[in-house]
């Protein structure tokens, strides 16, 4: 890799240039690279759960199908759509920041947040249904169900729970960049925070893209 840093001397430093960087470019590249490295850690974080998923699915293929059939694939599908829509609004928000269009930024960030909140509301109703049907692992778990199903639901709750937690954090970030965008902070010179938040949001979407078929759609052909 070639030496990436160059001593570009900027005439008057941008007000958002932190003192330990040479240039806005260097600063932007550092934050995008930083976010990507962070996302690698996120991949591994969810990866541990997927490992457990693979092992137990291999051990209990039948229970997996049975348990998956208990999930509501329609709600899962709806949520997939919701997240995909939030991804395009997020992408448009980043674009708006890059071209310095404040109104578009605000609209798109707001839309993204609303879609994210919708996802969480749907998720809430799904969880509620699981409680009512005694599908939450632990002492109240329906004992008549075959071995392996309880593990499926443990993983279901941990995986979707952590995913939902990421969504909540994402909404917090959206609130922050919304306020900043309101103040007109972002423009063609300085949009790193929006870009980086976008990377995070898309990543959370990707996790769901895998969770949806792996959790919800196994039981569909049987039923």
């Amino acid at each position: 890799m070639s030496n990436s840093t160059s001593p570009v001397s900027v005439a008057k430093p941008h007000p958002k240039l932190q003192s330990h960087f040479f240039s806005m470019d260097q600063q932007l590249e550092a934050s995008t690279l930083g976010m990507w490295v962070f996302l690698v850690t996120e991949v591994m974080f969810f990866g541990g759960l997927f490992m457990a998923y693979i092992v137990y699915r291999h051990m209990y293929p039948h229970a997996w199908v049975e348990a998956s059939a208990e999930l509501n694939w329609k709600l899962g599908g709806l949520n997939t759509g919701v997240l995909i829509c939030s991804s395009i609004t997020m992408a448009l928000a980043v674009r708006a920041a890059m071209i310095g269009n404040r109104t578009q930024q605000l609209i798109n960030i707001a839309l993204t947040s609303i879609l994210g909140a919708t996802f969480l509301v749907v998720k809430f109703f799904e969880y509620k249904a699981k409680f009512e049907h005694h599908l939450v692992p632990g002492p109240h778990f329906d004992p008549s169900l075959e071995q392996g199903m309880q593990i499926f639901f443990s993983l279901y709750f941990v995986m979707t729970g952590i995913h939902a937690l990421h969504m909540v954090i994402g909404l917090g970030i959206m609130a922050y960049i919304f306020i900043q965008a309101w103040k007109g902070t972002y423009n063609a010179e300085y949009f790193a925070p929006v870009e980086v938040s976008g990377l995070y949001w898309h990543f959370v979407d990707i996790v769901w893209i895998f969770l949806f078929p792996l959790l919800y759609l196994l039981g569909a052909h049987g039923a």
Binding site: G48, M51, M59, A188
Partner: protein, 101 residues
């Protein structure tokens, strides 16, 4: 300054978005068909395609430095290490046959 930074077009965003929605519909549809052993591979293939679309276009990897591309790929490569070396154990537990026979 940010000359090197690619501004995505709205058209591109919409096309990717439509592709993602279509693929979601497709994966739901295909799940209702019994493809035998192909069930999981097909579902995964669709999911991987969708994820790739998001990574390449929405996350802008396409217009990013080789370093970022490497980083983006490396996370998944490492995950595969975990899966392969781990499943090495689970898939070969019966390797020696029945002990003593």
């Amino acid at each position: 300054m940010s000359s090197g930074h690619h501004v995505p077009t709205i058209g591109m965003c919409v096309r990717v978005w439509l592709a993602l929605l279509v693929l979601t519909g497709f994966t739901i549809f295909i799940a209702s068909q019994d493809l035998g052993v192909l069930n999981t591979p097909v579902a995964l293939l669709v999911a991987i395609t969708k994820a790739t679309l998001v990574i390449v276009f929405f996350m802008g990897v396409k217009w990013n430095t080789p370093l970022t591309k490497t980083v983006a790929v490396s996370g998944f490569v490492w995950l595969l290490i975990l899966f392969f070396m781990g499943m090495n154990d689970y898939l070969t537990r019966g390797w020696l046959g029945v002990a003593g026979r």
